[in-house]
């Protein structure tokens, strides 16, 4: 009996395997053509692949690149990097009940993170409940960060070194959208576990929200028992632009432990504005984001940890050749340019009244080729200027980067 059971199981496995080879059974989720998708929809607007009538859809993307950068005459030579591979699993559990998870492997297997794993329950288009590991919707990049969507090898500096890129946390919240002709208005609001005191106690030597990503315990427990609030509102006109305004903030320090008061409650607050638009005549895509951060740094701490920070980026992408190329029918060649600026310490020295520097700026001209909408091959020239805290002559970094990113 047991043999028959094993044989049956083997047959089923073989049949399944045969079926998977038959690519006609694989279905791509249809691409949205309404032009009404927003940054908040990015998590589900991906090219998922489903099999037959299975309620589970799979997807993912990978990014790899080569670069040769030099700083003030010193180079680390040719670097080949597997930046990340991400796997998505989405499931329509029932009508108006869905689940999505996003598992990311960064720098090979150096970092493995569950970036997103949430259950969505729709009560009304204006009232959806989301819970699990959510991605705090601060700015646009945190929501819409998939590599194949960008013409640049590196993520924006303001998104990774000012804001915590792909910052996710355990929490619950609501979101909703309202359509009216060409307009769509949306909101999101979450409470989640929050920051920790790595913001001002980290080995970058500056106030750093991204340093809080090192706290792996945040998926298990809150550092200080205080929730982090994240709220975003966005409005979009199908033919004009999308504009988003977001806020994320909460107490970051351990002000109390075992019933004993240790310190005052110290807050970190982030405000961000993002906008994107495609100019109708030239088809030029413009995408920009700017963030302001305020952190309550104890007055007895070092001034190298800034109380205020700001920064952002603007990407300009111009399609220049939209014809079949090298046998790829949907081919598009773009030229693009990114401008970036980050000031990690907005303020003046108590001792001299002089400006505290610690800022960064860069320009990244780029050429990208999209053999299809889900794959991008890109070549960037990066030129950075980084100034230290005191405003001494800036160090200059520049060089070429080339790589690809593709959904699969």
């Amino acid at each position: 009996m047991m043999r028959i059971g094993l044989l049956s199981l083997l047959c089923m496995v073989c049949m399944t395997a045969t079926a998977q080879i038959d690519t006609t059974l694989l279905r791509r989720k249809p691409k949205d053509t309404t032009g009404m998708l927003m940054n908040m929809d990015a998590v589900y607007s991906r090219p998922f692949l489903s099999v037959g009538k299975l309620p589970v859809a799979l997807g993912g993307y990978l990014e790899a690149n080569w670069q040769h950068l030099g700083t003030d005459g010193i180079t680390e030579g040719h670097q080949f990097q597997m930046k990340r591979m991400t796997l998505f699993v989405a499931s329509g559990i029932a009508r108006r009940l869905k689940f999505l998870s996003e598992l990311e492997f960064e720098d090979g297997t150096k970092e493995i993170n569950i970036e997103f794993a949430a259950l969505d329950m729709e009560f009304h288009p204006l009232l959806n409940l989301r819970g699990g590991i959510i991605m705090n919707p601060i700015g646009a990049f945190n929501q819409n960060h998939d590599g194949p969507k960008w013409e640049f090898v590196d993520r924006p500096t303001s998104a990774v070194a000012l804001l915590p890129a792909t910052y996710s946390n355990v929490g619950f919240g609501v979101y909703g959208k309202q359509y009216s002709k060409d307009w769509v208005v949306a909101y999101e609001a979450y409470l989640s576990n929050g920051f920790d005191d790595r913001i001002i106690d980290n080995n970058t030597g500056r106030t750093s929200l991204p340093a809080t990503k090192l706290n792996k315990n945040r998926f298990e427990e809150s550092f200080n028992g205080m929730p982090l609030a994240t709220v975003k509102g966005a409005i979009k006109h199908r033919k004009i632009a999308e504009v988003g305004v977001s806020y994320m903030g909460g107490v970051y320090n351990k002000f109390e432990n075992d019933g004993m008061l240790l310190d005052a409650r110290r807050r970190a607050d982030v405000f961000a504005i993002d906008a994107n638009s495609t100019l109708p005549v030239t088809n030029t895509f413009i995408n920009a984001e700017w963030a302001w951060i305020q952190v309550d740094v104890p007055p007895t701490y070092s001034q190298q940890y800034g109380k205020r920070q700001q920064g952002g980026f603007v990407d300009i992408v111009q399609p220049v050749y939209s014809k079949p190329l090298l046998g790829f029918e949907q081919s598009v060649v773009n030229i693009a340019c990114r401008l970036e600026y980050v000031d990690w310490n907005v303020g003046t020295f108590d001792q001299t009244g002089g400006n505290i520097a610690d800022h960064f700026m860069s320009i990244v001209p780029a050429i990208s080729w999209r053999p299809g909408s889900q794959t991008v091959i890109r070549i960037n020239y990066r030129y950075n200027l980084q100034t230290d805290l005191l405003g001494n002559p800036a160090s200059r970094t520049a060089g070429l980067q080339a790589g690809f990113s593709s959904y699969f």
């Binding site: 040769h68 110290r266 090298l326 060089g399």
Partner: protein, 399 residues
Amino acid sequence: MKRIFTYFLILAFGVVAVVSCKKMQPAAPADESILDGPVEGLTSAQKIMFLRGDVAFNDEIFTAETGLGPLFVATSCGSCHAGDGKGHPFSTLTRFGQSDNTGNNFLAHGAPQLQSRALPGFEPEQIPAGATFSKFTPPANTGMGFLEAVTDADIMAMADPTDADGDGISGVVNWVNIKSYITLTGDYITNNGKCIGRFGKKSGAHNLLQQTASAYNQDMGITSLYEPYDTYTGQEIDPEVSNQTLLDVVFYLQTLKAPIQRNPNNADVIKGKELFLQADCGKCHQPTLKTGYSTIAPLANKTFHPYTDLLLHDMGTALDDGYTEGNATTAEWRTPALWGLGLSKNSQGGAYFLLHDGRAHSIEEAILLHGGEATGSRSKYAALPETDKKKLLTFLESL
């Protein structure tokens, strides 16, 4: 055919980009325009040690988890010595509690160094009532291995404690207690069980090991096997930096190159140097010294040009803060080396902060604040025609 041509075009573009990518990168700054970099002639093993020290000095930022504080002045070595140059008032430290050679009466109150910053939840130190104090701007680090390798005999030969030659200048040695972890090497000279101090504003440290271990402890609150006492509790605690790391940093400091003079053949620079010597500035700011034996071959038996005599001089009442260390009087300061002076602005945020506490905002202001034994030189400078003053300043900026 067209497709093949396109393939080749892309391939050719790629090859050209890869081959020429280095040409698209920023060039290295001229060696004489920066202070960091090793002395020439290090062995491969020494270069590896230098690089380890470089990382520990410039990149390692301490946190509460890695031992910072809880009371401190800075979170890393590099935050006080940007580019290995002079520091900024932001990282100026304060010493307090000693007003004569009988010792520091405020050791129980946290002296000699004020821990002006603290981790959240802790309160930084305050200067106790009745304690005199002085502010010290961090010095440049470069060329210190050469200064360390000057023999005691050569330093003693420059001293003139009784002003026997009657020139009004009487350099004296600061005799300091020998730390238990210091092994005196070479032809050292002692005086009543004390050795020659040659580092620090008051020559309070005998060598770079003492200076470094003390800076880890006093500036960052990092204990080591050498300086095991926590600055907050006063108790001996586990080392928070390894001996290897600390010794790597010492080696890094020993083997940082000496600053290279810019435009030494410029006529104004040459004339300025003549005027500098004519004004007797060189009697304290000795242009040339030589090293003795050193276990680091590139430092051994070398002639170099630091513009210091490593001795204490009375600088007059204007620079007398009422605070001192060792046997130095409150008005006495160790002659600072002038090499690298012209590059100070590149590590001080684009402005000059000169003299021991950064009070002088130009080289000329620093000269005019000299008093005591330097009164004669200051007067000679002040009497120079403007064109000659400019030449003298051009010379100093070339160092």
